[in-house]
Symmetry: C2
Subunit: 353 residues, 2 copies
C-alpha cells in the first residue's frame, strides 16, 4: 500500500467523522434529513424518465446560478457521471443512500466539509441532509433549516395546509423531518442490557436501527436512534424529545462502562488490548470482525486505556473498510477474500498512526 494513503484518507474525512463534538464518547454524529418535493411533478417513483431528467436539470441550473452560494463552496455530482465504486463510497460516508446510487437521474449536492448533502431524485425530489459530529441536534436542525429556506426560495414545494410537506412515503408527511443520532453503545452491549433498554426506548416514539439504516445489523455496537413521528408536532419539539432521550441513553451507557470497570478492570482491559492486537496485526479481516474489534478499541480510547489513538479511528474504520470504499481506495474490483486482505492492510496502516 502507498505509504501516503493514510494521509489521503485523513483528508477525505467528512466533518461528522472527526470524532469530536459534544458527548463524543458515546454520540458519534447527529443528523437531520428533510424530505421535500417540487410541486407539479410526480414523486420520483411515479415519474417518467424525462420528468426525472427535467427535475434534475432544473435543480442543477438553479445551483449553477448560485442558488446555494451562501453555503460557501458546494459540489454537484451526477450519479451517472461517477463510477460504481465512487457511488458506493458516497453511501459509505452516509452522503447518499443505496437507493440513490442506483438512480440514473440522481445527483448529490455537498458542501466542502460534507456536513450538508442534498440528494436529488431519491425517494423524494429533494432530501436535504445535515450531519455533524457528536450530539448536536439543534445545530443540524438549524443547518438543515437554512438549506431548506434556500431551496424554498428557488422552488415551489409540494405542500398542503392540512398535511404540511407532501412526501412519497406517508410516514414522512408533515414536517418531512427525520432527526437521528448515531450512538456507540459497547458498555450496554457488553453488560447484556442492550436489548431490554432499546425495547424501552422504542415505546416512547423513538426508532432504533443498526449502523446502515433500516433493517441493517447493529454491527460494531453502533445504533441510530431517531424520531418515529413526523406529523402533528413542530420540528423543535421532535428535536427536543430526541435530544432528551439521547441524553438518557448516554448517561446510562457511561454509567455501565464505569460499572464494568469496577466489576473487572483487568478483564475489560484485556479484551480491549486483544482487539487492538488483532487489528494491528491480522492479515485477514472480515467486515464484521473489524467492527467488533474497533468497537472495543474505541471503548479503550474513551476509558483512557489506549492513550495514543484518536477517537476518530472508529469513524474512519466504519467508513473506509466498507467494500465500496476499499475498492475505491485500491482502485480495483475485489472479491470478498481479497477485500478481507486489503481491509486488514488498511486497518493496520490506520491503527498504527
Amino acid at each position: 500500500m502507498d505509504m501516503g494513503l493514510s494521509k489521503i484518507l485523513k483528508q477525505s474525512l467528512s466533518r461528522w467523522m472527526g470524532g469530536d463534538g459534544p458527548h463524543n464518547s458515546v454520540a458519534i454524529s447527529s443528523r437531520v434529513r428533510l424530505a421535500r418535493n417540487l410541486a407539479n411533478y410526480p414523486f420520483p417513483g411515479q415519474a417518467s424518465s424525462s420528468q426525472l431528467e427535467e427535475v434534475e436539470h432544473k435543480i442543477r441550473r438553479w445551483w449553477n446560478q448560485g442558488g446555494l452560494k451562501s453555503l460557501g463552496k458546494t459540489e454537484y455530482t451526477s450519479i451517472k457521471d461517477i463510477s460504481k465504486n465512487e457511488r458506493r463510497a458516497l453511501v459509505d460516508k452516509h452522503l447518499a443512500s443505496p437507493n440513490l446510487a442506483r438512480q440514473g437521474h440522481g445527483a448529490v449536492l455537498t458542501n466542502s466539509e460534507e456536513s450538508i448533502s442534498v440528494m436529488v431524485n431519491e425517494e423524494d425530489h429533494l432530501r436535504i441532509q445535515t450531519l455533524l459530529p457528536g450530539l448536536q441536534l439543534d445545530e443540524v436542525w438549524q443547518l438543515a433549516s437554512g438549506v431548506d429556506d434556500l431551496f424554498d426560495t428557488g422552488f415551489d414545494y409540494a405542500w398542503s395546509q392540512h398535511n404540511g410537506y407532501l412526501t412519497c412515503c406517508p410516514t414522512n408527511v408533515g414536517t418531512g423531518m427525520r432527526a437521528s443520532v448515531m450512538l456507540h453503545l459497547p458498555g450496554l452491549s457488553l453488560s447484556g442490557q442492550l436489548p431490554i433498554f432499546l425495547g424501552t426506548i422504542s415505546k416512547v416514539g423513538i426508532a432504533v436501527r443498526g449502523l446502515y439504516g433500516e433493517g441493517s445489523d447493529s454491527q460494531g455496537n453502533v445504533y441510530q436512534i431517531s424520531n418515529q413521528v413526523t406529523l402533528g408536532h413542530r420540528e423543535e419539539e421532535i428535536i427536543e424529545n430526541l435530544n432528551r432521550v439521547t441524553l438518557q441513553v448516554i448517561r446510562r451507557e457511561l454509567d455501565t462502562r464505569q460499572q464494568l470497570l469496577k466489576q473487572g478492570e483487568i478483564t475489560l482491559t484485556d479484551k480491549i488490548w486483544r482487539s487492538y492486537g488483532i487489528l494491528a496485526n491480522a492479515r485477514i479481516l472480515t467486515s464484521s470482525e473489524t467492527l467488533e474489534h474497533i468497537s472495543r478499541v474505541r471503548l479503550g480510547i474513551d476509558l483512557g486505556v489506549l492513550e495514543e489513538l484518536h477517537p476518530s479511528i472508529l469513524q474512519e474504520l466504519l467508513v473506509f473498510t466498507r467494500p465500496g470504499y476499499l475498492q475505491k481506495i485500491f482502485g480495483q474490483s475485489l472479491g470478498p477474500k481479497e477485500r478481507d486482505v486489503k481491509r486488514a492492510e488498511l486497518v493496520r496502516e490506520l491503527i498504527k498512526q
Copy 2:
C-alpha cells in the same frame, strides 16, 4: 514490572534454551539421562531416611573434594535449602524432576551453563542429565558419558555382568540411558498429520511424550521423543537410531510447513500475526493459551514472517511462564488468576524486546 527484569531473565537462560544448535528450526534440545545407583545401598524408594542422608552426604563430600572439578565451576544445591518456588523453577528449566523437588534428602548438581545436571536421590541415587540446544545427540551422550566416568571413579556402581546397570525401575536396566529430543512440530500439528505420524514412530521403539514428560499434554506443539529400549543395545546404537528417526521427523515437519505455505500463505501468515498480536497485547494469559500462541509465533520466526524476534523466545516462554518460575520472578505466592495477569505482563515484556 522492573524494566531490568527481562535482562535478568535472559541471563538466567540455560544453555539449552539458547535457540541455536543444529536443526534448531524444529529441534529445541537434545538430552541424555543416565540412571545410576551406588552399590551397597538400597534404591531411594526402599531406603530409610538415614540411608538417604548418608548417600547425599557421601556425594556432597566427594563433590566438595573436587570430584567434578574437571567440569569447571559446578554448584551443589540441597533441595531442603531452597524455597518451594526455587524448586519449581528448577523443574521448569528441566534441571530437576517434580519427584526430586519433593525429596527431603535430594540435591542437584549443575554446571554454570546448566548443560549438566545431576539429581541425587531421585528414583535412583544418581540421575546424570545433559542438555544441549538443537539436535546434538552424540554431543549430549559424550558429555553424559564423561560425567558418568567421573562418578564411576569415585563410587562403586550397582552393576551386574548380565543386566548391566541396575536401576530402580526395570525399564531403565541395562544402559540406564534415556536419550530424548524435544521437537517443535507446529506444521504437522496444523496439517492434522500429527496423530498418525506419531503413532507410526512409536512402532519403531521410540516413545512420544508431551512437553513435561510422561503423561503430560503436548502443549505448544512441543513433543519429546526418546528410546524405549535400554537393555540389549549399546548406547551408541540407541543414539544412532533415535538420531535417524529424529532427522526423518524434522524433514517431514519442514516439508509440511512449506506445503502449508503453498496452500495458503496469507491464511498461515494471518494466524502467526494474530498470535503475535495477542501475546504482545493481552492482559490475561493462561498457560495453555500462551503455549498455543508462542508455537505459532516461533513458526513465524522460522518461516521468516516475524523477522525481529529471536528463536529463543519459544524456550524463554516455555520456561519463564510456568507457575513456579512466575512465582520465583515476582517473589510471591500467586493464585491462578494473578498468575494469568503476571504471565501476560512477562510475555509482553519478553516479546517486545
